[in-house]
C-alpha cells in the first residue's frame, strides 16, 4: 500500500479530510453532519495517515494519546450539560449566547460544545483502535 504516490498524496488527503471533518461537525446543526460523522471522518483520516507514514508519525503528530482525546471529549460533553446548573435549570438545558463578531453573529451554545465532545470521543476512540491495530502489524517483519 505504501507506494510513492500514496505516500506523497496522503498528507494532503489527511489535511483535507480533517478540515472537512471539522466543517461537517460545525455545520451539523443546520445541514447534514454533526459530531459523530465528523469524528468518523477524522478517524478515517488518521487511518489513512497511519497507512502512509506509519503509526509513529501519526502519534507524534497527534501529540496527545488518542484515548486522552476521547476522554477529554467525554468530559467536554458532560461539562456542557452541567453548565445549565449555573442558571438553576435542569441538567443539559441548552444555553445560547450569540456573539457578534463584526457583521456576522456566531451562535455559541452548549449543544455546540456537546457536539464537539461527541466528535472528540468518536475520533479519539476509533483512532486509538485503528492505530493500535496498525502498530502491531508494523512491528512484525
Amino acid at each position: 500500500m505504501s507506494t510513492v504516490i500514496f505516500r506523497t498524496l496522503a498528507p494532503l488527503i489527511v489535511v483535507i479530510m480533517l478540515v472537512f471533518s471539522l466543517y461537517i461537525c460545525l455545520r451539523g446543526h443546520n445541514e447534514p453532519g454533526g459530531g459523530f460523522i465528523g469524528g468518523l471522518i477524522a478517524a478515517a483520516a488518521m487511518a489513512v495517515f497511519g497507512m502512509a507514514s506509519g503509526v509513529g508519525a501519526v502519534r507524534r503528530a497527534l501529540r496527545l494519546d488518542p484515548l486522552a482525546i476521547a476522554g477529554s471529549g467525554l468530559f467536554l460533553a458532560g461539562a456542557s450539560g452541567l453548565a445549565s446548573l449555573f442558571i438553576a435549570a435542569p441538567f443539559m438545558t441548552s444555553i445560547w449566547l450569540p456573539i457578534e463578531l463584526g457583521e456576522t453573529v456566531v451562535p455559541v451554545s452548549t449543544p455546540l460544545f456537546f457536539d464537539l465532545g461527541v466528535y472528540l470521543v468518536v475520533f479519539g476512540t476509533l483512532a486509538a483502535i485503528a492505530l493500535s491495530l496498525e502498530s502491531d502489524r508494523e512491528e512484525e517483519p
Binding site: G34, A43, R137
Partner: protein, 800 residues
Amino acid sequence: MGGSLDASIALVAIGPFLAAALAPLVNRLAGPLAGWVLALVPAGIFALLLSLAEPVIAGGSVRAGIGWVPSHGLTLSFLVDGLSLVFALTISGIGALIVLYSGSYLAGHPHRGRFLAFLLAFMGAMLGLVLADNTLALFLFWELTSITSFLLIGFDHARQAARRGAIQALVVTNIGGMALLAGAIVLQQAGGSWELSALRELGSLAGHALYAPILICVLAAAFTKSAQFPLHFWLPNAMEAPTPVSAFLHSATMVQAGVYLLARMTPLLGGTAAWTTLLMLFGGATLIWGALGALRQTDLKQILAQTTIASLGLLVLLLGLGSAAAISAMVVYFIAHALYKAGLFMVAGAIDHGAGTRDITALGGLAEKMPVSFIAAALACLSMFGLPLTVGYLAKEEMYLGLLAGDWSAVLTLAVLVAGNALLAGVALLVMIRPFLGEPGTTPKPPHEAPIPMLAGPVLLGGAGILCGLLPDWLGREVMAPAASGILASPVESHLALAFDLASPLLWLSGLTWGLGILVYRQADAIRTLLRRFEHTLGWTADTVFDAAMFGLVRFSGAVTRLLHHGRLELYLVVVFMVFALALFGPLLAWGGLDWIVPTAELGDWSKRLVPPPFRPYEWGVLALAAIGLVLVVVARTRLLAIVCMGVQGAALALIFLLFGAPDLAFTQLMVEVLSVVVLTFVMTRLRLDDRDPRPFEDWARDGTLAVVCGVGVSLLLMLVLTGPYDPRLSDFFAATSVPVAHGHNIVNVILVDYRGFDTLGEIAVVMTAGIAILTLLRRRKAPPTPRPARPRRAGKASA
C-alpha cells in the same frame, strides 16, 4: 424539642463514625494513650444519653430527626424511649471500656489504629440501630453492623479461620438484613409509615392481611442476627476475632440487635399465637442447645460464646412469653448478661494475654498470679450463677415470677428455664473455679496480671453487676420499668425489692437452680465426654451444612460460568444470533404478526398483487449493486474479498438512504462502512487469519441457516412496521419546535445533541468504554511472552 436536641442526638449516631475516621491519626499521635483518648468518645456519648434519662423515666419519649431524602420519606429520625435508652447506654458504656481495653490488648500491633476505627464505626452503627425511628434507617444501621462486624471478626485476616468466620457471619446476618428490608417495606405498606413511633400508635397488626409476611421477615432478621437455633453456628466461629471484639459483639451489641428488633416489634406483632409459639420454641431450643454446647467446649472463649447463644435464646423465650413480668425479666436479664458477659470475655482475653492459653484443662491456680482478674471474674460469675445480691439473681427471680400461676405450658416453660439456668450456672462455676482455683497447670507463659486498662473494664462491670443487685428499687424504677414500658407501649410497674421470703416458691426454684448448677459443675467432664460422643455419632452440624451450601453455591456458579463463558467466539456468536432470531420470531408468531403482513385470505391471488415498485432506473441500479455485493460476500473465496464486498454492499445501502431522503444516515453509513473495511482488514492481518475461511459443512449449514433466519426475521419485522398506520406526532413535534426552541434546522442532529442529548452522552460513554476494552485486549496480546507457565489459550501464539 429544639434544634440543639436534634443535633445532639444526631451526634450520638454520627459521632462514632467521625471518631472512627480520626482513629488511625489519634493512634499515631497518642501512641500508648490512644485507647484512653478514643474511649472519651463513647464515654461522652454515655454522658449525653444519661442527660436524656430524666424525661424518659418520667414516662415520655424523645424524638428528634433531620431530613435525609425527604422525597422518599427517608429521615434520619431518632427515638429515645426506655428501650432504646437502656440499649444505647449499655452499648456506649461497655463500648468505652472496650475501647480502653483494646488500646492495651493490641499494644504494639501494627494495625491498632485500624482496629480502633472499625470498633468505633461498629459502635456508631449499633447506636444508630437502637436509636433509629425510621425503619429504613434501622435497616441501614443494621447492615452497617453486619459490615463492620465482618471487618472486626476478620481483622486477623491472614488466618484462614478468621476469614471464614467473618464471611460466615456476613452471609448469615446479611440474609437476615435482606429479610429486614423486605419486612420494613411490607410494614410500610401495612401501616402507612416508615416511622416506628407512628407505627406503634396504630397498635397491634394481628389479623392484618400482611401480618404473616411481616412476621416471617422480622423473625428471619432477628433469628439470624441473634444466632437462634439452627442459625446459631456463625457465632462460635466469630470467636476468631480478637477478644475485645468478642467481648463487645457478643455481650451487649451485635447479637442483641435481633433481640432489640423483637422487643421493638412487640407492640406491633406480639401477643399472637404464632408469635408466642415461634419465639418460645426457638428461644427454648436455643437456650438448651447453647448451654449444652458450652459444656462441650474447653476453650474459655468458646464456652462463653456458647453461653451467649443460650442467653440469646433465653431473651427470645422471655419476649415470646410477652407478659409484663416476662418483659421486665428480659430487661433485667439483658442488663445482667451484658455486664457479666462483657466482663468475662475481657477476663478471658486477660488470661490469654497473661498465660498464653485459654484452655480450661490447662489452666489452674491463676487466683494467686492474677488476683484482680480473679475478683472481676468472680463477681461476674456470681451474677451469672445468680446468687442473691447480684443483678443475675434479680433477673432469675423475675423470670420465674411470671410463670408461677400458670397452666401446663407455663410449667413446661418453667422447667426449660430452670434447666437452662442450671446449665448456665454450672458453666459459671466452671469458668470461675477451673482456671482460678483449680490445680495449677502448665501454661505456655508464666501467668502474670494484665495491665490496668485491661482490668478496668472487668472490675467496673463486675462491680456494676453487684451494685445493681444491691439497689433493686432503683433498678426497677429507673431502668426496668421505663424499658419494659417502652417494649410493651404501656406503663409497667416495678416491684423489684431486696427481700427474702422463705415461704416463697421463687426462692425454692432458685435453690433448685443452684443445686442443679452445682451438680452440672461436678459432672462437667462426664457431660463433655457424653456430648462429644453424641456430636461424633451425629456426624454433621449446622456448620457443616453451611459449608456444604457455600461450596454448592460456588460449584454451581462455576458450572454456570463454564457453560456460558466457554471462551469459543463462534459459539458466542451463534448464541447471540439464536437469541436474536428467537426475539424476532417469538413475538411475531405469538401475536399473529404474520397475519398482518400476509392476510391468509388474500394469499390466493398474491401474484397479481406483486407489482414492481415504481423506481427510476438508477435506483434499480443501486439496488442491484447492493444485491451483487451481498451475493459476493457469500460466495467470496478469500476473506479479504468478502470484507471488500461487504463494504460495497454497505456503500450501496448508504446510496439508498441518500436517494430516499436521509442524507445524515447515508453519510454516517458511508463512513461506518469505510472504517469497517479498514478495521476488519487490520484485524484480519492482526490475527493472522488464513486468507480463506475453511469450515466444516455442519458449521457452514448452521451459520447459513442462522443468517437466513435472522435476515428473514428482520425483513418480516420491517414489513410489519410498515403495515401499521404512520403516526406523525413525533416528527411533527420535532419539525415544529426544532428551529424556534433548539435553533437548528437539521432535526436529526438537533435530536442527537439537544432533545435526546442525555442518551447521546450515555452512548459516547459506551463508545469510549468499548474502545478502552478493545485496546486492553489488543495490548494483552501484544505483551511479550512471560516466563510464567503459559495459559492454554495462549499456547498457539508461542511463535510471536
